[in-house]
Every structure is written in structure tokens, then in C-alpha cells.
């Protein structure tokens, strides 16, 4: 990483914060997924009377080993450590793809890409800088969201149930392996499609299909088919890391100045 690439990364990050529309998407989605949605789940779980809920039926359906203790605590533990990690993955996907779309197709749309291409940065250096800018934003947003979510949820749980439930090892795998990998895959897909896309929205949509496996995981959990555990997450993380490495490695050679300016 040289000074020129660093200047480009800083500029790209500054660009996204000054683009109100894109920045709002980056802010609102994490807010909904890490504050609003978990808060609703926690409040409903804690306040609905046991007799009026189907929680026991849900617990019976889930492939978990029988657990001793308060039903509400078990449910909250499931929400925090089984359900939220899957939803959380939408954040790095969204933040990275919005950033990648902005820094590639956004530049093309605003006729600034050509100016960058006339600089003495090689295409490889240019791609590295732009991928790193997208990755940085994806990770910064993810970590801030995680911290914010934990603070809010722990306070809510403490107030509503009198106890806190700590995140388990799943979150470690999510934050250190899956989120970075899925962020890079999402950037890779967005960038690969950027040569064919004429608008930022079109480029972003190419990363949308990454959402489907996540929906599959959510549905799978609620129907009792699968349960997200640490081993499953580790496996998913490793596969994603491999896919990310392959996509990012191949992406640079795919482009020429001519293809980028089409």
C-alpha cells in the first residue's frame, strides 16, 4: 500500500459519506438489523407471558440439546447467538456492496473514473485501493453495529429480565471470519458486474443474491431443519474466505482500461 493508494482510499470513504442517499442506506440497514429488530425480539420474548406464547413449541422444534433454566433466558440466548448472527451478515454485504458500487460505477456515472485512469496508478493498484476502501467501510460499519447492538441488547435484557446474556463463540467467527469474507465476496461480485452496469443501483443489485443463502439459514432455523452452530459457521466462513480469495485474485486481470470505460 503506497501513499497514492491511501489517498484514493481516503477520497472514496469521504465520497460515500458525502453521498446522502448511499450513506443513509449504510446507516439505516444496520440500525434496523442491530437495534430495531433485536430490540423487538427481546421485548416480545421478555414481556409476552409464558402461557400465551408458543415458545415451548418452538424450543421443542429446534434441534438443540435440552437446556435447564428459565425459558425466557433460553429464548433470548437463541435470539442473540443463533438468530441475530445470521441477520447480522446482511450488514457487511450491504455496506461493502454500496461502497463498491459507489467507488466503481459511481465514478463511471460521474465521469470521474476516466480522470483516475489517467493517473500513474496501475489498474492493479487502483483495484486494490478501491477494494480496500469498500472492505474498510464494510468492516467499520459491521464492528460499530456489533458494539451498538451488544450495548443496547444487554441494557434491554438487564432491564427486562434482570440478567445479561453474553455473546458466544459464534460471534467471534462471524466478526473475524465470515463478515470479512462475505464483505470481500460482495465487493468482488459488485466490481465484476461494474463493467456491465451503468448505474450504482444496478451494480449493487448484483450482490443481492448473497442474501438468499442467508434467508435460507433463517428459514432453516425457524423450521427446525438446521441450527446455526459454531462448526457450521466455521465451515461457511472458510468456504466464503476461499471464494473471496478466488474472486479478488481473478478480478484485476479481468479488466482493461477499455473495458472500464465502456
Amino acid at each position: 500500500m503506497n501513499k497514492r493508494q491511501l489517498a484514493l482510499i481516503k477520497k472514496d470513504i469521504r465520497s460515500i459519506t458525502s453521498n446522502k442517499q448511499a450513506f443513509m442506506v449504510i446507516l439505516i440497514v444496520p440500525l434496523a438489523l442491530t437495534i430495531v429488530l433485536p430490540s423487538i425480539l427481546v421485548i416480545v420474548t421478555a414481556l409476552v407471558p409464558d402461557s400465551a406464547s408458543d415458545f415451548q413449541a418452538l424450543l421443542d422444534m429446534l434441534p438443540i440439546t435440552a437446556q435447564e433454566g428459565d425459558q425466557v433466558q433460553i429464548i433470548l440466548g437463541l435470539v442473540l447467538n443463533k438468530i441475530m448472527p445470521v441477520f447480522f451478515l446482511l450488514i457487511p454485504i450491504m455496506a461493502s456492496s454500496v461502497m463498491a458500487a459507489s467507488s466503481f460505477v459511481g465514478e463511471k456515472e460521474k465521469n470521474t473514473l476516466e480522470t483516475l485512469l489517467y493517473s500513474p496508478l496501475s489498474l492493479k493498484q487502483l483495484f486494490q485501493a478501491k477494494i480496500l476502501a469498500g472492505f474498510s467501510v464494510g468492516m467499520i460499519v459491521s464492528f460499530i453495529s456489533f458494539v451498538a447492538m451488544m450495548i443496547v441488547l444487554q441494557i434491554e435484557m438487564l432491564i427486562l429480565t434482570g440478567a445479561v446474556i453474553l455473546p458466544d463463540i459464534s460471534w467471534l467467527i462471524i466478526m473475524l471470519l465470515i463478515a470479512p469474507s462475505i464483505s470481500l465476496v460482495s465487493i468482488g461480485i459488485t466490481v465484476r458486474g461494474s463493467a456491465k452496469s451503468q448505474t450504482m443501483e444496478e451494480a449493487q443489485q448484483r450482490a443481492v443474491f448473497l442474501v438468499f443463502p442467508i434467508i435460507g439459514l433463517v428459514v432453516g432455523q425457524f423450521t427446525g431443519i438446521i441450527l446455526v452452530n459454531s462448526w457450521l459457521l466455521l465451515g461457511i466462513g472458510m468456504v466464503l474466505a476461499l471464494i473471496a480469495a478466488l474472486i479478488i485474485k481473478n478480478i484485476v486481470g479481468k479488466f482493461t482500461y477499455e473495458k472500464l470505460l465502456k
Binding site: 489517498a7 465520497s15 470521474t112 480522470t115 470505460l261
Partner: protein, 307 residues
């Protein structure tokens, strides 16, 4: 030293559009080379080929002995490019834009600021340096783009319609700047369809139409390809018998001569016949006329070839 060398260069886009058709030319260092032709003639495509943005379909080009397709980064370090589609960032101020691009060219911050401020001042943009680009008018953006292209003191400047959108005063300022740069050894490759403007500042020319190069050389060479005749404008009380002229108004006449040597003979003839001469001026064929004559000649040649 040859700054730009183009040999049998062609570019055919996907779909078969032949934008540049077998052109060859050379530009020496320090020249202001005017690459002239109408919109769609192939000027911008040629610039893109020379900057490595496009790969030639045939032939080759070199800029300061570098192959743009093989060494684009090295070439970009020593060239500055200003085209319609090379814009800057609306959310940054004029000064911040220049500093950002200066950093990309490896300049340090203090060097960037110093050079950027000097260029803003030279292009009468100091007052707008701290304003966001989104508030700039077309002419201001154009001048800032020129500043950006010149920021790293390139050896060659590729300018595509540098004065389009500028008011006459700014255009004059830009012309002076271009001439100063050329005088200091910077090569200017200037594309324009404004032939009168080109004649003011260019030292050599390449005339292009529909992708084909019609002619290259300085104005005298181009003129000789079309006609060596001069038009003498006269205001005189009479024209002696036997002199061939065209009356353009009351006591005003145009007389076509082969060389300037014939002008004193015409004056002597009028005075000798008892007439008075109030005005004499000689117009050489302007670039515009040369260009259209060359196009006509080229069309005629093509028609003959098609027969």
C-alpha cells in the same frame, strides 16, 4: 526529439465502427500540435490510444518512446490529459480536487498546495479554490480541469477542446498559458473543431476527417497543398483596364495574386493610371478554407477511387 510518433494507427470498435483509419504522424517536443476535425472525426479516440486507454486494432503509437498500451502508468506520469469525460469530484473543493490528484501523481502535500494555488491563480480561480466543485460553472470546471492536467508539470499535455465553454477573456488566458508552456518545452497535443482558434496557437497541424488523416504540417505546408494564391483587398478610386478584379463594395476590390511580389505592381498600376489607394491588405487562405478544400479534395479522390 519526437514526442509523439504514430504509425499506421487504426482503431476499430466492437461493432465495426472504424474510428481511426491508418493514420501516421509525428509531433516534435515543444510543438503545439493542433489535431483538427469535426465531432466524430476520431480525435478523442486518438488521444485515448495515445494515453493507453484504448488498444490499437492495427499499427502503433509511441509517446516519448513509450508504448501507451505496454507502459500506461509510466506514460501517465509524464502526461496530462484534459478531456470532456475526465471530470473531478463535485463534493470536493477546487483546491482539494487538485491536491487529491497531485497526491496520485506522487507529489507531497506542500508541493501540491503550492502548485495548486499557483495554477488557481494563473487561471483566475483563486476566489473559487475553497468552493465545492458542484458550485462551479462549466467554464470554471474547464479551467480547473486544465489546472489538474498541468499540476504535475507534464512533458506532454493532451487537451481535448480546452476552450469550449470559456468566455473570450478566459479563452485568451488559456491560449497564452498554452503558448507559455510550449515555449518552456512542453508538447501540446490539442484537439479541436474550432479551426480559427487552432490557427491562433498551433505551430503544426493534423487534419482528420472520418478517421482518416487528410494532411499534416505547418500552415505554409498545408496552404501549399491547396493553393499558393493570395487575396489582396483594395480600396482605390479606380482600377486600371486589364487588371482582373472582383468588386466587393463601393471602391473596394479583391484581386487574386500568386505571390506577395505582385502587390507593388498592382499599386504602381493604380497610381500610374491616376488613381488613389486608400487601403491595401493581403489575406492568405485561412486554415478553415484549407481544411474544407482538403476535405473536398479527399472526397473527390474517394469518388474517383470508387468509380
Amino acid at each position: 526529439m519526437i514526442a509523439v510518433l504514430i504509425e499506421n494507427l487504426s482503431k476499430i470498435y466492437t461493432g465495426g465502427n472504424k474510428a481511426v483509419n491508418d493514420i501516421s504522424l509525428a509531433v516534435n517536443q515543444g510543438e503545439v500540435f493542433g489535431f483538427l476535425g469535426p465531432n466524430g472525426a476520431g480525435k478523442t479516440t486518438t488521444i485515448k490510444l495515445l494515453c493507453g486507454m484504448l488498444t490499437p486494432s492495427n499499427g502503433s503509437c509511441r509517446v516519448f518512446d513509450l508504448d501507451p498500451a505496454q507502459n500506461p502508468e509510466k506514460l501517465h506520469q509524464l502526461s496530462g490529459v484534459m478531456t470532456e469525460h475526465a471530470q473531478m469530484y463535485d463534493h470536493l473543493t477546487g483546491l482539494d480536487n487538485l491536491i487529491f490528484f497531485g497526491t496520485l501523481f506522487g507529489m507531497n502535500m506542500s508541493e501540491c498546495k503550492k502548485r495548486a494555488n499557483a495554477l488557481l491563480n494563473r487561471l483566475n480561480l483563486t476566489y473559487a479554490g475553497q468552493r465545492r466543485l458542484s458550485t462551479y460553472s462549466t467554464g470554471m470546471r474547464q479551467r480547473l480541469s486544465l489546472a489538474r492536467a498541468m499540476l504535475h508539470s507534464p512533458k506532454i499535455l493532451f487537451l481535448d477542446e480546452p476552450t469550449s465553454g470559456l468566455d473570450p477573456e478566459s479563452a485568451q488566458n488559456v491560449n497564452t498559458l498554452i503558448q507559455e508552456l510550449a515555449a518552456s518545452g512542453t508538447t501540446i497535443f490539442l484537439c479541436t473543431h474550432q479551426l480559427r482558434y487552432a490557427q491562433e496557437i498551433c505551430t503544426t497541424y493534423g487534419l482528420i476527417s472520418e478517421g482518416s488523416l487528410l494532411a499534416t504540417g505547418n500552415i505554409e505546408k498545408l496552404r501549399s497543398m491547396v493553393s499558393s494564391k493570395l487575396t489582396v483587398r483594395l480600396k482605390a478610386s479606380l482600377i486600371p483596364n486589364g487588371m482582373v478584379y472582383e468588386k466587393t463594395g463601393e471602391d473596394t476590390y479583391n484581386i487574386t495574386v500568386s505571390s506577395e511580389d505582385e502587390i507593388p505592381l498592382i499599386i504602381k498600376g493604380i497610381v500610374g493610371a491616376g488613381g488613389d489607394v486608400y487601403h491595401v491588405s493581403a489575406d492568405q487562405i485561412p486554415l478553415e478554407e484549407i481544411y474544407f478544400s482538403l476535405i473536398d479534395m479527399n472526397n473527390g479522390k474517394m469518388e474517383r477511387e470508387n468509380l
